[in-house]
């Protein structure tokens, strides 16, 4: 079962759009699915004190994060009648404009897929021990904090 398989969440660097297309294509044999909901986090070139964010360098407490992802997944599958769910998060450097988070949920019905997707996004942001260093063009940096 999709639910039980241990999943690799962290990917090195940005998540390429082709990976997203491939994930979608992989679901075309699952004809009990009627709706997919996808969330993508993209790095913003924010301006901070007249300096522009060029990239975020992600790090994580990986052993704990894997545990947290597993718990979020268990909780999502018990709360929502989803067919499958996939999450990917970048590690290392991701440039402005590139994708750092990919959440993908599927269900027979749209509301379930959408609610489950939101649940994953909020839970990951709140509970996963992931840290982001915002890099500026002059080699200075600041540490990102989730709102």
């Amino acid at each position: 079962m999709d639910k039980k398989k241990p999943k690799k969440v962290f990917v090195e660097g940005a998540i390429p759009p082709e990976k997203i297309a491939k994930s979608i294509a992989n679901h075309q044999s699952k004809t009990n699915i009627g709706a997919h909901s996808i969330f993508l986090g993209q790095i913003r070139a924010d301006e901070v004190d007249a300096k522009i964010v060029q990239a975020i360098e992600y790090s994580a407490y990986e052993e704990m994060a894997e545990q947290v992802f597993h718990e979020i997944r268990e909780s999502a599958f018990s709360k929502f009648d989803i067919t499958c769910a996939h999450i990917y998060h970048s590690m290392g450097r991701v440039n402005a404009g590139e994708i750092c988070l990919f959440v993908f949920t599927s269900s027979a019905h749209r509301k379930i897929a959408i609610e489950a997707c939101n649940f994953f996004v909020e839970e990951i942001k709140a509970k996963a021990p992931i840290f982001g260093k915002e890099l500026f063009e002059d080699d200075s940096h600041q540490w990102k904090v989730n709102k």
Binding site: G41, Y58, S59, A60, Y61, E63, M64, Q67, H89, C100, L101, V121, I124, K125, A126, K127, A128, P129, I130, F131, G132, K133, W143, K144, V145, N146
Partner: protein
């Protein structure tokens, strides 16, 4: 008892290291360990640092030999 301490993100930067081992009196609590570490590395508590014991966020846990204690700055995933 010997503990493994881990530091992440901004805290690893401030402490100047990602990992170290520390010997503690076995009577020492997690609160006492935090006090020692915060003082040593001048961590600023107002930043809402969380502490995980063996990958679990439970500040009331009693420490034992070999525990892994992680000092975590605010999360920034996604």
């Amino acid at each position: 008892m010997k503990l493994k301490l881990k530091y992440f993100g901004k805290l690893a930067e401030t402490a100047g290291l990602q990992e170290e081992y520390k010997e503690l009196e076995s009577a020492d609590t997690l609160a006492e360990l935090k006090r020692i570490v915060f003082e040593e590395y001048k961590f600023d508590d107002s930043e809402t640092i969380q502490v995980a014991v063996n990958q679990q966020l439970d500040e009331n846990k009693t420490l034992k030999e070999g525990d892994e204690i992680a000092f975590l700055p605010p999360f920034a995933g996604g």
